[in-house]
Subunit: 273 residues, 3 copies
Amino acid sequence: MLFAPASNPDVLAKLPRSGPDAVVIDLEDAVPADGKVAARQHAREVGEALATELPTLAVCVRVNAVSSDWFADDVRDALGPWLAGVVVPKLDTRADVETVALALERAGVGDVAVIAGIETVAGVARVDEVLQPPVRMAYFGAEDFIADIGGVRTEDGTEVLYARSRVAVAARLAGVLAIDQIVPGFSDDDRFLADARAGRAIGYRGKMCIHPAQVPLANQVFSPSEEEQDWARRLLAAYKQAELEGEGAIVFEGQMVDEPMARRARALLGTGG
Amino acid sequence: MLFAPASNPDVLAKLPRSGPDAVVIDLEDAVPADGKVAARQHAREVGEALATELPTLAVCVRVNAVSSDWFADDVRDALGPWLAGVVVPKLDTRADVETVALALERAGVGDVAVIAGIETVAGVARVDEVLQPPVRMAYFGAEDFIADIGGVRTEDGTEVLYARSRVAVAARLAGVLAIDQIVPGFSDDDRFLADARAGRAIGYRGKMCIHPAQVPLANQVFSPSEEEQDWARRLLAAYKQAELEGEGAIVFEGQMVDEPMARRARALLGTGG
Amino acid sequence: MLFAPASNPDVLAKLPRSGPDAVVIDLEDAVPADGKVAARQHAREVGEALATELPTLAVCVRVNAVSSDWFADDVRDALGPWLAGVVVPKLDTRADVETVALALERAGVGDVAVIAGIETVAGVARVDEVLQPPVRMAYFGAEDFIADIGGVRTEDGTEVLYARSRVAVAARLAGVLAIDQIVPGFSDDDRFLADARAGRAIGYRGKMCIHPAQVPLANQVFSPSEEEQDWARRLLAAYKQAELEGEGAIVFEGQMVDEPMARRARALLGTGG
């Protein structure tokens, strides 16, 4: 899920090049106050063009927070029926979500998917009530969360493990797809890969990218590798053989394998879990 | 707490050899669908025999999940008054626990201890309502939890720290004894020891073992070492001396020691906390 | 926040020397049962003297837990209008907080700030209900928490990450200032610094110290360094320049910088968040 500021239409038009599953035209943090009006027009024009040209690409817009002065105009002027989803940052309460649902309905885009930004202390604390319909996806915003709590971002990310894990659990419980935090240093591939692997281990299904160079790295981590697929196929073959012989647990490459591990192998191959 | 598949009566009979505190005859993951009927009979026969021969050994049976087709027959055919506890996997809600209590009562084993498996996202999210009577113990199932959330198990286990910690806190609050996650790689002693030490640090009181070789390792970690006992005795002697001299806090081997540390030392020696 | 036993008036009088923001005269863990009466008198006398001499120093008293036999006498005999705050350990429930509020009011110090000790499993599990007015600050007590849950303290502190993070989140949500856990080994500066940095990263605003040597280390970690301030000034200058040029996101020293990062930089300089 690749983000770019709506203030720069040339950059927006090039977003699909790095191969993201979704692009987000951002009206929030990356657009200064006096650029919001022009940015809405860019969002609408480039968004519609991208969505028309590339029907398999999910084209989304991130509006400003519900509590901001810009939210109402964002919804009125930047969205349209071409949208795959609307990203709403800093959702803190159930009431915020209801405000969003009503505003979208009034703007004639009431059936668009809402992607909730969980990135404040309040949002994390009340994540179970926020992740309800029409929310269909959610991201965890580590930078904003740590700014809100007054903490410090570190390389290993221990300071957000609690919040990042809690959001993943709440998302799974609500049947909402969870997208992992950004990595601001876009030229440090190793750090991005490590952060993405950690997010995937916790249960996230994708990654927010703030630079096209991060997209292939995210796709690499969140798609099963050849090696993982081979392992899964070998394990399932051995497990099936054991079942035919009346055994439900086997030793496979030094590990005790039973139904939960077989389930993970099937999930990895996309053959049901 | 040593697990073995109920499908293999020879293995079951040898379970006590490695010195576990409890054995669990497993009807769930490790037994294939077409082996459940025979497995129930093995569970009942070997379970009763073990319980009769070894009155200090806690003999338990793990039934299939409440939502499965096998649960009702497991309860009817595999349990008996010789049981120390019935292990119920994948408990998700208070309603699940009530279903279990009712089924046990109808089967005439209503006063057996229930050992709850917390190993789904729903179970972790609702752990406070699940860990109520008749639940007297609980285990955290990392493999199933990560399969459910769609994550990946890693060596350091960071991806389950939130869930594993939350279950330990809920267990202590409910007065329920907490048993820690399995380690699938049963020939990697160092990994088992590190994982067991981490579990003990978090507040777990024992470990699920899936191979007899893991039992002495678990016993080693969850029993206080000679070194720890010596440390606790020295600390308490110094602390008592200080109290006689009217001091409540002392410097002991470079650390400031007061009542909480003394309490931990007493707990370690089993002389009250 | 520097703690010292109320049993030793000479030590108490020297507390301000190391430069703490607050001193806590401790009637709880560090004072043995038969020293409580004398300790209350020391607390009152030295406390009042310190508060009078040093009006910018926050002078506090830690009473014994609400459930103890000493609490009522502590409140009656050790407090006074000179107090900046009363530290109450082991708060477990909303009812405990109400008992404290009532007792303080009856003792004529009803408007003093309450500093809540969250250091039991119950306190952590119910932290949201405990951190309500008149609670204005809170500390997380790792030693007591781990003693209560039956765990083990380790050097990296992974075993308390869940509880320590949860308390920081609850504190921020309640508008309560969070003070981080002690480090018992007072001669290990590196460990103290690492522990303090981890606490600050999570969102804590200060540190409990149990030895004067820890105070300058805590002040060093919890005050922004020259380096951090320089970074924040450079970042904000570049960000302002970008805004003038109509851009809301910039590349600054290899990182994508937008509003959340600018907010963290402003917070670091104390110029509003």
